[in-house]
């Protein structure tokens, strides 16, 4: 599924990235991403995640591939959720560079909002990095308000 260019830019900007998965017994799990590389034409998003910090998320993706990701801008709560199938791929130099730049940029955004780097440090971890490669099947508006939860693209 091709992704809207504005949405792709949003996902690549310094926004919070949170990951939802579930195991085969339908127990959900939470994780955080530290950087996204987006290919809008292919409808693909690659998310860097710390395997050290979020082993449950990684195990769920390995087991069944189901992944949902919400991107939320800290300054105004504008949020989008994408859902689809993912697989775990090795982290390349590009991914590592992306994660480092992301941690730096989002750290600055949070600091501007009064959340210092010492507070945000536990949310911005790239120790033992892995990459989740997600093929997006649907996109939802998640910004608080009347349109929250509305589907933008896709149809699963």
């Amino acid at each position: 599924m091709r992704l809207d260019q504005d949405l792709a830019s949003f996902m690549g900007s310094p926004v919070m990235i949170i990951l939802g998965t579930s195991d085969d017994a339908l127990q959900p799990e939470i994780g955080r991403g530290v950087g996204a590389l987006v290919w809008p034409e292919k409808g693909q998003v690659e998310l860097v995640i710390s395997a050290w910090q979020w082993p449950g998320t990684l195990a769920n993706v390995r087991a069944n591939g189901r992944l949902s990701v919400t991107f939320a801008r800290p300054s105004d709560y504008v949020s989008y959720q994408v859902k689809g199938r993912a697989c775990v791929v090795p982290a390349t130099k590009d991914h590592l560079a992306r994660a480092a730049a992301y941690i730096d940029a989002v750290g600055a955004v949070l600091a501007e909002l009064g959340l210092g780097r010492d507070i945000a440090a536990p949310w911005l971890v790239n120790r033992d990095p892995a990459v989740l490669s997600l093929s997006v099947e649907s996109v939802f508006v998640q910004t608080p308000g009347a349109k929250a939860g509305q589907m933008l693209q896709g149809g699963s």
Partner: protein, 445 residues
């Protein structure tokens, strides 16, 4: 070590958004931020349900969910296994969350969007600390000295018999025992439409006599709802109260508007307002603020709730006991001294002493009444009883308000250091100390 839900109180301050993950019956996950998670008891949390519809649909089909909460003090994350139990659309817990949400969202201009539809109660299972790059994390709160400090403040309040002294004991106690440097106590105007500041600590001016309409700002909202309100991060919050900040022009501004400004910290980040309720009636509001983010915890709120309730009870007792003493024999000396002007504007009963605005309304009428008796009969001592029955005062027919009005008047006169001072000489008795020769004029403007 097992982490108990109560150890995570700092995660439920609404400062750093929590996260919830659910899964549909086909396994499709959903991941969403949450505006409010509230601690219910040792086994339950409540989530506000405004609009996260996919989450709501998912937990109906599959009640298993995961919650990530963040300790606002250090950023540490905790992962909770939770299980949806039920939705609640009314009741005490619902109202408590609704007012918190209203306070928080009105301040970011989203009052209508964030209207609470219901709260969802979840049972909490396993709690895990999410691995953190930081070193050892101390999630257990340090030994809490709050209870003994609160007991000391309550003890001090219980020693007092007069409303002003009760308020002082509460505010001094908050400052000395609980390190609340900025505080105010406002008492309900008996007409029921507004609160009047009767004491404050920490500000560059006392603001005694300043008023807050019921429903206005954090203080007014806490009064309207009769519920505690705590805001932990006001960085994007619209300032409550008056936009006019006054300093050097304070007196001039007061003289022009005949309105006393509410004190306040322009840079406040945390605020808390506690209703003072006794006999089921709202008596006033106890308010504290701080320039620090998340300065006040849920435990601090509980401590202040105890103090507010104790003060309210003591005030009711003081009101009902301050009765009907006989006039004392002693007649305080008054100095002849120089003349000074007291101007009374009957249309709003505002009183100016030497061109400085003092007070208006019933308190203004009281002052003029006492001054007339002083000038006519040379009397300086008065009983509450005779004041209460003086027809020219046209006191509103409220049984228990005279003490509060006299207290307000006494404090305002003190605050303005006027040559007329009111002195509390015992239960149900006051005296007038006049330094100089007042000249009372009525003016029609």
């Amino acid at each position: 070590m097992t982490i108990r839900l109560r150890d995570l109180a700092a995660c439920f301050d609404g400062v750093i958004p929590s996260i919830i993950a659910t899964a549909a019956h086909d396994g499709t996950p959903n991941i969403s931020y949450l505006s409010h998670v509230q601690l219910v008891d040792d086994e339950h949390v409540a989530l506000s349900n405004q609009f996260f519809s996919k989450t709501a649909a998912n937990v109906q089909a599959n009640p298993a969910a995961a919650l990530l909460v963040v300790d606002a003090r250090n950023g540490e994350q905790y992962r909770l296994d939770v299980r949806f139990e039920r939705s609640v659309e009314s009741g005490e817990l619902f109202e408590e969350m609704a007012v918190q949400l209203r306070a928080a969202s009105a301040q970011i201009g989203m009052a209508d969007i964030m209207r609470l539809r219901g709260i969802d109660i979840y049972r909490v299972g396993a709690i895990r600390h999410v691995p953190s790059p930081k070193e050892a994390v101390d999630f257990l709160p340090a030994e809490n000295p709050l209870l003994s400090a609160t007991a000391e403040i309550v003890r001090r309040i219980s020693q007092e018999t007069e409303i002003g002294a009760i308020i002082d004991a509460a505010l001094d106690g908050l400052r000395d025992e609980l390190c609340h440097a900025y505080s105010m106590a406002l008492l309900m105007d008996p007409a029921g439409e507004r609160l009047v500041t009767i004491g404050s600590r920490g500000y560059d001016r006392t603001g005694i006599g300043s008023e807050v309409a019921i429903g206005d700002g954090l203080i007014g909202l806490a009064a309207a709802e009769r519920r505690p309100i705590r805001v932990s991060d006001m960085s994007r919050v619209r300032r409550f109260g008056s936009a006019i900040r006054i300093s050097a022009v304070e007196a001039a501004e007061e003289n022009r508007t005949r309105t006393i400004q509410l004190p306040g910290l322009p840079e406040a980040m945390s605020q808390m307002a506690l209703p003072m309720v006794a006999h089921g009636l709202l008596r006033g509001i106890l308010f504290v603020e701080s320039p620090k983010r998340f300065a006040f915890t849920r435990e601090d709120q509980a401590a202040l709730a105890i103090i507010a309730a104790q003060a309210a009870g003591a005030i009711v007792l003081a009101e009902s006991e301050a009765v009907e003493a006989a006039a004392a024999m002693a007649i305080p000396l008054t100095s002849p001294g120089r003349q000074f002007q007291v101007i009374h504007h009957p249309y709003d009963d505002s009183v100016f002493i030497e061109n400085e605005y003092i007070i208006k309304g019933v308190a203004g009428r009281l002052l003029v009444h006492l001054l007339r008796l002083y000038l006519r009969e040379g009397r300086t001592e008065f009983t509450n009883r005779e004041i209460r029955f003086a027809p020219e005062l046209r006191l509103p027919d409220y049984k228990d308000n005279l003490e509060t009005r006299l207290l307000l008047l006494r404090r305002r006169l003190e605050d303005k250091a006027t040559p007329i001072q009111l002195i509390h000489v015992g239960r149900g008795r006051i005296s007038l100390a006049v330094a100089g020769a007042p000249v009372l004029n009525n003016e029609s403007g």
